[in-house]
Every structure is written in structure tokens, then in C-alpha cells.
């Protein structure tokens, strides 16, 4: 029986649960002998001109070997927006040269013999700052009152969508609702913060250990910043303690560590503190959305408009272009007659924005799902019913959503029905009515979100693809090289299952390797929920092609026609039809000549997983505190390879998504000082705040890859966030509340209740 589709335990876990992983900060490698340590002096001010930097006091500090400022770092690249349509005058030097644009921006490098000496020394750097006005509010930013880059002429980095909106979009509507919605800034905050170790060899090549989501992309980014050829750079990926989108490519700090190693001719190491991580690692989300939705009182939505104002932070990074993904998914799961959307990304004096689990798509889902509830409330219809009336009917042939996304297949109504049934929707509504009737302090709220998202969108050029190499060894074990970059997802287990299923080699005898660019020069890494559908498919393809190579060799070995050979998976050997004794195993063949195949799997396009989440919350109407009591999730990601791994992705994603709805937010004061720079102030949900999630099975295989798999990694943050937010609003809707911005923290909810009781919806 095939092990595909079964709950194979993670082969990674024994190590992580006993000796622990080996992360960049704690790795021991002889090439790093004698390494010195980098500490970055960072801007304490959001926006200022640098008049001068005095480093004289630092040089006398204990253990200081060198101090560098932008004046020293002259041979590195100037960073600009990633695509040409982004204003190219918004430039960034790796160390701030004349202006700082967010608290935490690196201003100087201090190199010390020991790591601990760096913090003392960095405090002694004397920077003469001439403060400029902070720009925090997005409307303030778009007004161009204070320009971050005067040479750019505007704070707007880029616009997406039509230049002119249709003023007649809502002409046929009986009802139109419009609202500004905050999709707040959040911090990826992986358990492992950023880190790097770098050494240049005598051959003039750089070896850099960096926690990342794709060593090959990190190599490209690092080489570009250092202005060296990518073949001069080798990236090695130690264990990675979470990434959530923020460890793609490389940051200026990584390049500066490598630069320092070259300048000093010594190995150099750097690991940031949690403070630095919360200020220096890219943030995610950060959209101000205006949704307008209109239709008939019978529940038919006729028109929907989404306008996005995206916060870029101080410099245009990936986050600047993510609204294009938001626009791509504007209509979500719905068959609205008229839809339009437009976006504008503006720079602010805050930490730059990057990708964060879902990266542009959760924002689209949050907008349309909130809009649907606003519309339902306006016409007084059950939100589940309004959704049913407007969902796209089930389809199996690809269909364009009108914004350039080609949905491969979908059955959104079934997903919704299954979620509602599993939730006991009718009973929940009845209980809600009862509680309201008896004036219960604890109000019950039920929130729904339907979603479709895009996964495996892919490669920098051409169709989405990924490579894998499978090699069988003479001892009967096997090695897989993958271009994906697991950092918690369990590829070690999953890829071994796929090869094992083809080759008959036990999972525990298969080693999966990744993240060393000399070993695996090409690869797309792990992000955008692409890994299984492309990297996994490549493993399967390589395994199958390996069997064909082996079949020919076995035929020679056994002196029979290859067509008479049959592969016996249980024995991992070829046998000859009708002759029991005649057999040759893959291990035997590998003993005679290396037995390996590299394969590239190319997908015809991105896939579009979908689902429906139902959240149940209890809101203490006296204090505003929300308790998430249930979360029911239907996540159709096609065929599931290993339900244990898929469930893990769902649980983690749902908790993360619920946390955005309930608590998480990066907050700046009006002067641009971060108020959430430690875990005392930046709150996640912990195990004590979440229930065990109710995961409902639904698998509609895609035809885009032989595994039938779509992506699952980001479903949780896409579905759960609006479901939980909608549930909170629903809980207090009888008090007149129509909307509460995220995070729905206790004070925010309480204020919404008070405000509604005073007659403001």
C-alpha cells in the first residue's frame, strides 16, 4: 500500500525535540575559527538628516577592532524598487548615508572581538542628527507634505490598477455600503531572528551561512548588493527557525556582514537581538483599504470596489509591490457583475514592508469578506446566505477572475456548506438569539470567510518550476537534493515519502538536503505555498526517471529485455517476470555505477486553493475582551500528501491569522518611535488563548501537477483572519456595531460598543 496520503510522523522531529537544531548563531565550523562580531548602530530617530558621525569614542571601547560608516562602504550597490514601475529615485544605501528613514535603520558597523562588547561600543557612536518630520499616517504620506525622498518628487512609490475609477459602477444598486478598513502592520517575528556568518576564501569566494527561505535567491540578492558575480558566493543554510516570508533574499545587514568579512579578511558573525528583529526585519500587511459594495436587497451583489493604500515603510522592498497581488485576487470567490480595484504604495518613516504569510492575498480576502458582512448587515440578511447567493458556481475548467488570475478549479459553495455544517451553524445562530434575549454579558459571535488564493505562482522567468535530484546509494539508502528550502514545513519527511513510494526505500533511509548553493545551484526556495506542488512533484519525477535509468541498467545486468522487468517496490529491486530468483536491486545497481537523476518539474501555472472558515467567539460586552472559542476550517488544497504536515500548516496558520484579527499590531507613536519593540508589547496568541481547531477535510485534486496538490502554507492566515474579525463584529452587531478594525483588542471592542450605544455605527 502506498504511504502517500498517510500520517507519516515527521522525521525531523527527534532532533528538534532532543538535541535541538543547529542555527546560524550556534553553528560550529572550522572556517569560522577566529570570527569577530558585528553589531549595528541603528538610528534611534524615525526621520533625520545625518550631519556627521563621530566614532572616536567607540574606537577606544573594549574589544573594538573596527568601525565603519557609509563613507567606508563605497563598493556596494544602491538599492532601488524591485520593478521598474516603482519610483527608482527612492534609493537606499546599505548603511544610511545622509538621511535615516526609520527607527532601526543601520547607521554604522562596529566590529568587536566578542559579541557582548558590541552593544557597549555601539552605544558610544555619536551621530549628529538633524530631525525631519516623521511620516506615519498613510494619508499624511500620500499628501506629500513631507517627502521622504525629495528627489523622487512624491511619496508614492507605485500605483496599480486603472488610472480612473468608474463613477457609474454602483448606478444599478439599491444598496451601497462603503467603509475604510485597516489591515494593520504586523511583525513576522520568527523564533530565530536574523543572523549571518561569512568568510572569504583564498579563492576569492564568499561562504555565507544565512537563515533563509531559498539559498539561491539569497545568493542572488547578496551578490547583487556586494556587486560580485553570483558564482563567487556560496550560501549555506543551517536550520532555520521560522521565516513567514521575511527571510526571502537578503537584507542590507547580511551583505554588510559579508562586506566586513572581506574588508577585514576575517570570518565575521552577526546575530540580531529581538529588539533589532522587531525594528529591522521587514514587517507585513499594512494596508488601508476602502471597500465599496452594492447590490440588491434580495442579496445579489452587483458591484464591488477595492481601493488600497499600501504602507511601504522607509524604503521600497517586496511589500511595495504586494498590492498587485491583492488586486489580482480582488473578487475572491464571488461572481460579482462589476468589480474594480486600484492601489497606491506610499513610503513612510517606518520599518520597510516585506512579505508576510499570504503576502497580499490575505488582504484581498479580508477586504471582500468584510465587505460581504457589511452588505449583509445593511440589507438585514444572514451573511452565510448572502455569500451563497454570490459565490461562483463550481467549475473544473480554468476560468479568469477578470483580474488576470486563472483559477484552476473550485467548488466554493461546497466548502462553505461543509464548514457551516461542521460548525452547526443553525444551532449557533439559535444560541446567539437566546443569549441576546436574556441579555448575557458574554455575547456569541459567528464569523464566516470564504477564500480562494493563489499558490505556486512561481518563477522569475517562465512557468513555475523546481528541480530535484534523487540518488540511490550502494547501501540502499538515498539522498534527495531539493531546490525548496524547508524551515519548519517538513520537506524532509514529505520528499522522502514521495521517493520512497516510487523506489521502495524506507523513509528513514532517505536524506533530504537543501540550501547549499554549491550543491544545489538552482532553486526557487519555499514561499508562496509552492513547495509540494513544484518541488515535491520534481522529486516524484526524478524518482520515476531514476527508475527508467535503473531499468535499462538492470536489463543489461540480468541480460533480459527491459520490457520483461518489473519493479518490485517491496524489495526495491527489478525482477524478471516468471523468474523468482533473478533480481537486481537499486542498491546493487548503484554499487556498479552512481545512480542518480536530476529532474525539473514545470507546472502549467499557479493553483488556487480555496476554502471556508467559521469562527466562533465570545465577547465580554462589559470589558470588550474576545475569546476565540471555536475555529472550523475547510481548506481544499487538492490532494493531501501527509495529513499530519498539512494539519500542522493549518494549525499554525490559523493561530497566526487569528492573532492578527485579535491582538497583533506593530504600533508607532506620532514621532515614529516603535512602541512594540519587544515581546512584552508585541503580542501573539499563545496556546492558552486558542482552542483546538476543527479541521474539516476537502480534497479537490488539481490537474496542474501529478500529485494533485495545491499549496496549504498560507490558508490559515487567509481564511482565519477575516473569519475571526467578522465573528467579533457579529457578536456585538445587535448593539449597533457594524465594523471594528483589527486588531480587535479589548479596548477597541469596548469603544466600538460604547460608540454604537451613543448612536454611531
Amino acid at each position: 500500500m502506498s504511504i502517500l496520503g498517510t500520517r507519516v510522523l515527521r522525521t525531523e522531529d527527534p532532533k528538534f525535540m532532543t538535541t535541538g537544531g543547529v542555527y546560524t548563531e550556534d553553528l560550529v565550523d572550522e572556517r569560522l575559527t577566529g570570527a569577530v562580531y558585528v553589531t549595528f548602530a541603528r538610528s534611534p530617530i524615525a526621520h533625520a538628516r545625518i550631519n556627521g558621525i563621530d566614532t572616536s569614542a567607540v574606537r577606544d571601547s573594549d574589544g573594538v577592532l573596527a568601525v565603519f560608516t557609509a563613507a567606508d562602504v563605497t563598493d556596494t550597490a544602491t538599492l532601488r524598487g524591485m520593478t521598474r514601475d516603482i519610483n527608482q529615485e527612492m534609493t537606499q544605501t546599505l548603511l544610511a548615508s545622509d538621511t535615516v528613514r526609520y527607527v532601526g535603520e543601520p547607521v554604522a558597523i562596529v566590529v568587536t572581538e566578542q559579541a557582548y562588547q558590541g552593544e557597549d561600543a555601539a552605544d558610544l557612536i555619536d551621530v549628529d542628527y538633524d530631525p525631519l518630520p516623521a511620516v506615519i499616517d498613510l494619508h499624511d504620506a500620500e499628501s506629500d507634505k513631507t517627502l521622504l525622498f525629495p528627489e523622487a518628487g512624491s511619496n508614492t512609490a507605485v500605483r496599480y490598477g486603472p488610472p480612473q475609477l468608474d463613477e457609474h459602477l454602483f448606478d444599478d444598486c439599491e444598496v451601497v455600503v462603503s467603509r475604510e478598513i485597516v489591515n494593520q502592520r504586523v511583525a513576522p517575528a520568527p523564533m530565530e531572528s536574523r543572523s549571518a556568518a561569512a568568510v572569504w576564501g583564498e579563492d576569492g569566494r564568499l561562504v555565507a551561512w544565512i537563515p533563509n527561505q531559498g539559498a539561491q535567491g539569497t545568493r542572488a540578492a547578496l551578490a547583487a548588493m556586494l556587486k560580485v558575480s553570483p558564482d563567487k558566493v556560496r550560501i549555506i543554510t543551517p536550520d532555520v527557525g521560522g521565516a513567514f516570508g521575511a527571510k526571502f533574499g537578503a537584507d542590507p545587514e547580511h551583505a554588510l556582514v559579508a562586506w566586513t568579512a572581506r574588508r577585514l579578511g576575517r570570518p565575521v558573525r552577526w546575530s540580531e537581538t529581538r529588539y533589532e528583529n522587531l525594528m529591522g526585519m521587514t514587517h507585513g500587511r499594512g494596508q488601508l483599504q476602502t471597500v465599496t459594495i452594492g447590490g440588491r436587497r434580495d442579496g445579489t451583489v452587483l458591484a464591488y470596489r477595492l481601493e488600497v493604500l499600501q504602507d511601504c515603510g522607509g524604503y521600497p522592498r517586496i511589500g511595495t509591490l504586494l498590492p498587485s497581488l491583492t488586486l489580482l485576487m480582488t473578487p475572491g470567490t464571488y461572481a460579482f457583475a462589476k468589480v474594480e480595484s486600484a492601489a497606491r504604495s506610499v513610503v513612510t518613516t517606518t520599518t520597510p514592508m516585506g512579505a508576510y504569510r499570504g503576502a497580499g492575498r490575505p488582504e484581498a480576502t479580508a477586504a471582500v469578506e468584510r465587505a460581504m458582512d457589511l452588505f449583509a448587515a445593511e440589507i438585514g440578511m444572514d451573511p452565510a446566505e448572502v455569500r451563497r447567493r454570490n459565490l461562483l458556481p463550481a467549475f473544473t475548467e480554468p476560468r479568469n477572475n477578470g483580474f488576470g488570475a486563472l483559477y484552476d478549479s473550485g467548488d466554493y459553495a461546497t466548502a462553505l456548506d461543509r464548514a457551516l455544517e461542521a460548525a452547526g451553524y443553525g444551532r449557533l445562530r439559535a444560541e446567539q438569539v437566546e443569549r441576546r434575549a436574556r441579555g448575557d454579558v458574554k455575547a456569541l459571535g459567528i464569523g464566516i470567510a470564504c477564500y480562494v488564493e493563489i499558490t505556486g505562482a512561481g518563477a522569475e522567468s517562465g512557468d513555475p518550476h523546481e528541480n530535484a535530484t534523487v540518488e540511490v546509494h550502494p547501501d540502499g539508502s538515498a539522498t534527495i537534493l531539493t531546490g525548496t528550502s524547508p524551515h519548519g514545513q517538513g520537506h524532509g519527511t514529505a520528499w522522502a515519502m514521495l521517493a520512497s513510494d516510487e523506489l521502495g526505500i524506507p523513509v528513514e533511509r532517505i536524506t533530504v538536503r537543501h540550501g547549499d548553493t554549491d550543491l544545489i545551484p538552482e532553486g526557487g526556495g519555499t514561499g508562496g505555498s509552492r513547495s509540494l506542488q513544484q518541488g515535491g512533484a520534481a522529486v516524484r519525477q526524478a524518482s520515476q526517471e531514476l527508475l527508467e535509468v535503473a531499468r535499462d541498467r538492470a536489463a543489461d545486468e540480468l541480460e533480459v529485455d527491459a520490457r520483461d522487468l518489473r519493479f518490485d517496490v517491496d524489495r526495491s529491486a527489478f525482477t524478471v517476470a516468471g523468474v523468482q530468483q533473478a533480481a537486481v536491486s537499486l542498491a546493487d545497481l548503484a554499487g556498479k555505477e552512481r545512480l542518480f537523476v536530476r529532474a525539473v518539474f514545470t507546472a502549467p501555472g499557479a493553483t488556487f486553493p480555496f476554502g471556508a472558515h467559521v469562527a466562533v467567539v465570545e465577547v465580554d460586552t462589559e470589558t470588550g475582551k474576545v475569546e476565540l472559542s471555536r475555529l472550523i476550517a475547510v481548506d481544499d488544497a487538492g490532494t493531501i500528501l501527509n495529513p499530519l504536515l498539512a494539519d500542522g500548516q493549518r494549525h499554525g496558520g490559523i493561530a497566526q491569522g487569528a492573532a492578527q484579527a485579535l491582538l497583533e499590531e506593530v504600533v508607532y507613536d506620532a514621532d515614529g518611535n516603535p512602541l512594540t519593540a519587544s515581546f512584552a508589547d508585541y503580542p501573539f496568541l499563545s496556546a492558552t488563548e486558542v482552542p483546538s481547531f476543527e479541521l474539516v477535510d476537502m480534497q479537490t485534486p488539481t490537474t496542474y501537477n501529478p500529485l494533485g496538490a495545491k499549496g496549504i502554507g498560507e490558508a490559515g492566515t487567509i481564511g482565519a483572519t477575516p473569519a475571526v474579525q467578522n465573528a467579533v463584529v457579529d457578536a456585538v452587531s445587535h448593539l449597533g456595531v457594524r465594523h471594528i478594525d483589527m486588531p480587535t483588542s479589548p479596548q477597541t471592542v469596548w469603544r466600538a460598543i460604547v460608540s454604537a450605544s451613543e448612536g454611531n455605527a
Binding site: 557597549d120 537581538t273 462589559e622 470589558t623 475582551k625 504600533v667 503580542p683 488563548e689 479589548p746 479596548q747
Partner: protein
């Protein structure tokens, strides 16, 4: 996240700790469980030149009946306070509050003396001590003296402790069977209180409604003159000066103080 340089000395007894404090003066800071002080040192909000470690003075780790009181030694860990059979029976409010401090890791390191000396107005044990009207026994060069809860806390992270004194014991009147209530309002289980209300025996104290634990005196007076919980709790925020942060502004904190006080009083068996 690395402290400034400091020296480290270990005290084997309260007397030795007092002597060391005398020797080093205001350069020194006592270290017990380290779960408040060390994080502050790591983020450089505190930079003592010398740490005097008293966490290992086992003779100060005890819970015992002593006449009409329960005496709790200063280095008794929160977990021991929370699970003490004596406290759960005689002073259940204190045991309950100790069980809500931080998370299990914090509760197994942090000490009652350390928490009270740290005097965080948002912390559990100071407000519990205030409601209980407990007394803090401190030791200095001249010997021991006792300070009542109302006099002990003097402001943000400020107490009546002299530079060369340390807490050696906390004394609480035995109250078996007496009604009590403790309502701690947090975003998450392991957070500090946005506001907390503690009540026992007609006293009501609030956490994070000012620079130190605050007695809700108007509420207490109302209760003393026969008001029900609802009316008395409505007065809970009177005279308070809560701070403001992103978790709650002053108006919200005052509102919470009233709600939590009513709930705490209800737990204590005070009728509406």
C-alpha cells in the same frame, strides 16, 4: 540584549546580604529570581554595578503558621506560594494571585520578596498584599522592622525599603473561609494586568490604576456603610490616576476598575 558589565556576589544569609548592601551602597542591587531585574538589565533599563544574589538563601524560603499570621519567607517562589496548602486554606487570595504571575517558568524562578521589592504597579503580588493588608518584614543593619502594605509601596518601582535593607518575610493575617475575589484583566494569560482588582474583608485594591497598588477607598467606605457590590464598585475608580498606554487609556482603565471590582466583590460573596 546584553547587560552592561557588573560584578556578582553571593549572599549566604540575610545578615551577609545586609552587609554586602552596606559595602556597595547604591551601586548594588539584590538578585532573587531575576525575572524582573535581569530583563531590565538586558535592555539596559537597569545597570547596577554589583548584583548581590540572595536567591540561594534557603532559610528565607518557607510558608508557616505563626500565631494569627501566615509567615512567608522572602525567597519563596511564586509556584510554592501558589501551591502551598497552608496559604490556600488560610490566605487563598495570595495563593491564587501567585498562580497567575507570568508563566510557569517565571513562577518557578520569581520570589515573593523580589516581586514586592520590584513594586510594579501592574503586578499580582503587590495588589494582593495591599488588599490583604499584609506586612513586609525587612532587615537592615539595625535589625528588623515591619512595614504595612499601605506604607510599603511608594510609587513606580519604589518602596519604603532603605538602600541597605532587604525583605526577609511577608506576614498575612489568617483568613480561613473568608470570602475573597481577584479579577485580573489581561490580553493574554501571561501578560501583566491592564487592570486588576483584589478584595477581601472589605478592602479593595487595584493594580495598574496608578503608580502603585491603589486602595479603592470610596468603594471600601460604601461597603462599610452597607452598599451592595454594584453601587460600591461604581466608585472604584474614584481618586485613581491610571497611566495610559496602547492597551488602555485612562477612561478604559477606570471602566475596567469598576467592572472588575464588581466581579471581584461578587466572587467574595458581596451581594449586588
Amino acid at each position: 540584549m546584553i547587560t552592561s558589565p557588573f560584578d556578582f556576589v553571593t549572599a549566604r544569609s540575610a545578615e551577609q546580604a545586609v552587609a554586602l548592601l552596606g559595602e556597595y551602597g547604591d551601586d548594588a542591587k539584590l538578585l532573587a529570581g531575576g525575572h524582573s531585574l535581569l530583563p531590565m538589565m538586558k535592555v539596559r533599563l537597569a545597570a547596577p554595578a554589583v548584583l548581590v544574589d540572595i536567591g540561594g538563601i534557603d532559610e528565607l524560603a518557607y510558608v508557616r503558621l505563626d500565631g494569627d499570621d501566615v509567615a512567608v519567607g522572602a525567597t519563596t517562589r511564586h509556584a510554592a506560594v501558589a501551591t502551598s496548602a497552608v496559604l490556600r486554606e488560610q490566605v487563598p487570595l495570595l495563593a491564587h494571585a501567585a498562580g497567575l504571575v507570568g508563566d510557569p517558568q517565571v513562577r518557578h524562578r520569581g520570589t515573593i520578596g523580589g516581586s514586592l521589592a520590584h513594586a510594579d504597579p501592574a503586578a499580582d503580588l503587590p495588589v494582593a498584599l495591599s488588599a490583604l493588608g499584609g506586612r513586609v518584614v525587612v532587615q537592615g543593619p539595625a535589625g528588623r522592622r515591619e512595614i504595612g502594605a499601605d506604607d510599603f509601596f511608594q510609587g513606580y518601582f519604589t518602596t519604603a525599603l532603605a538602600e541597605d535593607e532587604l525583605i526577609v518575610e511577608v506576614r498575612l493575617a489568617r483568613r480561613p473561609g473568608q470570602g475573597w475575589g481577584y479579577e485580573k484583566f489581561t490580553r493574554r494569560a501571561n501578560d501583566w494586568a491592564i487592570v486588576a482588582a483584589a478584595t477581601v474583608g472589605g478592602r479593595v485594591s487595584l493594580a495598574n490604576m496608578g503608580s502603585q497598588p491603589v486602595r479603592a477607598l470610596s468603594t471600601e467606605q460604601a461597603l462599610a456603610s452597607g452598599s451592595g457590590a454594584r453601587d460600591a464598585a461604581a466608585l472604584a475608580a474614584e481618586g485613581t490616576r491610571p497611566g495610559e498606554d496602547m492597551h488602555g487609556d485612562a477612561e478604559y482603565r477606570r471602566h475596567l476598575a469598576r467592572v472588575l471590582t464588581r466581579r471581584a466583590l461578587a466572587s467574595a460573596g458581596v451581594a449586588d
